[in-house]
């Protein structure tokens, strides 16, 4: 029997493709960055697809299988993947399981979720490419460990992607700055845009708190309604992973106070858009968001940088336009 098997393997060996290394991430935002750096060398897949809320995501049996078979696991950290904590720590005992955000960030870059520090660090770091670029070196070394054969290619790509993200950062800044001062308030369904607001000097206001785990309270809705009406904020934004109800009830409340609040386009907060569409990549997601916010608040979008033309194949009318007032 043994001889037979050995012979079989020797026969098949030339036919077997070089088994690519594979890596599993939790969010698409991490996966997309990793993909851009790793190229063909490493297969990268994300557990949470478009429209999935990472705060609430619970691992299924098939997920565990994928996690087990991976060569490395990358997750966000700072309690974003609230329901996966124990699964990830168990896996961490046996293989490289990397919390990319805590590994990459420096303390003074972090924002707290609540004023009173009661929740901990705000995990939505991908909202600011200026911060998110810091995970590139982290991912680079990890990927080089996983696929040492491609070390050089990985290094090359990570340098290029880093420059891409810096260009993106500049572009966003150029766009947001055109929003008139009194309109620089970003009202969304939950507090996901803290870093975005901090980086580009926008005030942010979310109806629900940092995590969508909690049910919005009447006081929360009233707060936002009053603020919006008092300050004459023109637009409020829905998010792809959250039901529109809370936003719609704020709009109705504001209308009652005589303020015409428009629902701006759908923003991608905790997940990217559908894969295959422009907003299905990290850069695309931020472009879509920025265009929606800028236009919704009365600013002008800056011209898309030459460097990033590969990252946005489509026409200017991205899929976010279709999801305007519904």
């Amino acid at each position: 029997m043994r001889r037979f098997l050995q012979g079989l393997i020797l026969l098949l060996l030339p036919g077997l493709p070089a088994l690519a290394a594979n890596v599993v991430t939790t969010t698409g935002m991490i996966a997309d960055v990793a993909r851009n750096i790793a190229g063909e060398c490493v297969e990268v897949e994300a557990l949470m697809g478009p429209g999935v809320d990472p705060h609430l995501y619970e691992a299924r049996a098939s997920d565990i299988g994928r996690l087990r078979n991976a060569d490395a696991i990358f997750y966000n950290g700072y309690s974003l993947e609230g329901q996966l904590g124990s699964v990830l720590s168990k896996l961490g005992e046996r293989k490289m399981t990397l919390a990319v955000a805590p590994q990459s960030m420096v303390d003074d870059q972090l924002l707290m979720a609540n004023e009173d520090d009661s929740y901990g660090v705000d995990p939505h770091l991908w909202m600011d490419p200026g911060r998110w670029v810091r995970i590139v070196p982290t991912l680079r070394s990890a990927l080089q460990e996983v696929a040492p054969a491609c070390s050089d290619a990985i290094k090359r790509r990570s340098k290029a992607y880093k420059a891409d993200l810096e260009a993106l950062d500049q572009w966003i800044s150029d766009s947001i700055i055109t929003i008139p001062d009194e309109r620089r308030v970003l009202v969304t369904a939950h507090d996901a845009f803290g870093y975005y607001g901090d980086a580009y000097r926008l005030e942010v206001l979310g109806i629900q708190g940092i995590s969508t785990d909690s049910e919005p309270a009447i006081a929360d809705i009233r707060n936002v309604v009053d603020t919006v009406a008092e300050r004459g904020i023109p637009s409020i934004f829905v998010e792809s992973t959250i039901s529109r109800r809370t936003v719609e009830s704020v709009v109705q409340g504001a209308a009652r106070q005589g303020h015409d609040l428009k629902i701006g386009a759908e923003l991608y907060s905790d997940a990217m858009g559908e894969s295959g569409t422009e907003a299905g990549t990290y850069i695309g997601m931020l472009r879509s968001n920025t265009e929606a916010v800028t236009r919704g608040l009365g600013g002008t979008v800056a011209p898309w940088p030459e460097r990033l033309s590969d990252h946005w194949q489509g026409r200017d009318a991205g899929n976010h336009e279709k999801q305007g007032e519904q």
């Binding site: 697809g49 478009p50 429209g51 999935v52 809320d53 609430l56 995501y57 619970e58 299924r60 098939s62 708190g209 909690s214 049910e215 919005p216 309270a217 009447i218 006081a219 929360d220 809705i221 009233r222 309604v225 998010e239 792809s240 992973t241 959250i242 039901s243 529109r244 109800r245 809370t246 719609e248 009830s249 109705q252 409340g253 009652r256 106070q257 997940a271 858009g273 559908e274 894969s275």
Partner: protein, 379 residues
């Protein structure tokens, strides 16, 4: 408080909670009287797969489709329970348990499966688990109002039939009423209530809203008409209190507070309702015990008086204490208040004495007569 009541958001939620209270109280009354309270639990859990299926069919979170899905699966679960109970050996409680767990498992499975789908508009389906009362919108109110109106009209139109089928289905059948159909309507109505409450308190807590106002109301009134009205009223009160309370405290979710208010009403009703309340029973029991003690004491004094041939024979208190084995002061005091005994003394150095008065003497005779015990012959 006035500022709260004037606020549009609060008004919306209040109106929603009021409609919920009305429909829960109305339809829950029949469920409770038919001993099908758990049906509310089964049906609300059965709404979850319907919500998911509604989403899967249309690919959007459109309210109408989701509610239609919820109503459909709820009604299917209800009919399933009815059929199973009628035509197999499975009893109602087992049937309800099966329907509840199977449909809820199906719902959760669908939820997680949808989670894995690439459709980007699936976010927020899980809010149906616990509801999102604070985000009540105009459309929600129209929907809830419509369903509530339908329920009220249905109950008013079929009032006699529903009452009789609930009380005595056998007799109802004998006078020609279509009992099975009416029972199905009663059960389906619970599904209606569930659908109304889905967005306010969610699948998990809806069962409490179906049961609590009706159970509380039952304690206070004695006619079905009154029970239903009171039940609706209590449902509304729970809703209003829940909304106002959660509106004043920051970060407090509304749905659970409404349910807590309803539960508090039940607890109060169970304890305090005259006639049926527990405190009243305890009070009546206490009074009865006290009366027995007094009667015993009177008859003892009587027998002693008979034995000593003196209707006003003074008895030393310690003697009574030792006979009864407990302190008799409270009983003696009470008898004194009622005029049946009077203090007496025999010898100064001894302790308190008591003797029967004329009134006490005849009262003791009456008690003994009532008990059918022969009195001693006066020697």
């Amino acid at each position: 408080m006035l500022a709260l009541l004037g606020d549009y958001t609060v008004q919306n939620v209040l109106l929603g909670a009021t409609l919920l209270g009305v429909v829960s109280g109305l339809l829950g009354s029949f469920a409770v009287l038919r001993q099908q309270s758990l049906m509310g639990d089964a049906l609300s859990h059965a709404a979850l797969p319907g919500v998911c299926i509604g989403f899967l069919i249309t690919g959007t979170r459109h309210l109408g489709w989701i509610m239609a899905g919820a109503l459909t699966t709820s009604v299917i679960a209800a009919l399933f329970v009815q059929l199973v109970v009628r035509y197999s050996r499975i009893k109602t409680d087992a049937g309800l348990g099966i329907a509840l767990s199977v449909s809820f498992a199906l719902g959760v499975m669908l939820l997680t499966w949808i989670q894995g789908m690439p459709n980007a508009s699936q976010g927020g389906l899980d809010t149906f688990l616990f509801g999102q009362a604070a985000a009540t919108r105009r459309q929600d109110l129209w929907f809830m109002g419509g369903v509530t109106l339908l329920a009220v009209l249905l109950v008013m139109g079929l009032w006699k039939q529903l009452k009789l089928v609930t009380f005595d289905p056998l007799f109802a059948g004998s006078i020609g009423l279509p009992v099975v159909r009416l029972e199905s309507i009663l059960t389906a109505m619970i599904a209606l209530a569930v659908v109304v409450g889905l967005q306010m308190v969610g699948v998990v807590l809806m069962t409490a809203m179906v049961i609590a106002p009706a159970a509380a109301a039952r304690q206070w009134v004695s006619r079905l008409e009154h029970m239903i009205l009171l039940s609706m009223f209590m449902g509304v009160i729970s809703g209003v209190v829940g909304v106002l309370f959660s509106a004043t405290v920051p970060h407090l979710a509304t749905g659970p507070v409404v349910v807590l208010a309803a539960s508090a009403l039940v607890a109060v009703s169970l304890l305090l309702a005259p006639g049926r309340g527990m405190l009243w029973s305890w009070f009546a029991l206490w009074r009865e015990r006290r009366a027995i003690g007094q009667r015993q004491m009177l008859t003892t004094l009587y027998k002693l008086a008979q034995h000593h041939n003196d209707p006003h024979y003074p008895v030393e208190r310690s003697m009574l204490d030792s006979f009864y084995g407990v302190a008799t002061d409270p009983i003696l005091r009470r008898l004194h208040e009622r005029g049946f005994i009077a203090p007496a003394s025999h010898m100064r150095v001894e302790g308190r004495h008591w003797a029967l008065t004329d009134a006490g003497y005849s009262e003791a005779e009456k008690v003994l007569e009532q008990l059918g015990m022969a009195t001693e012959e006066s020697a």
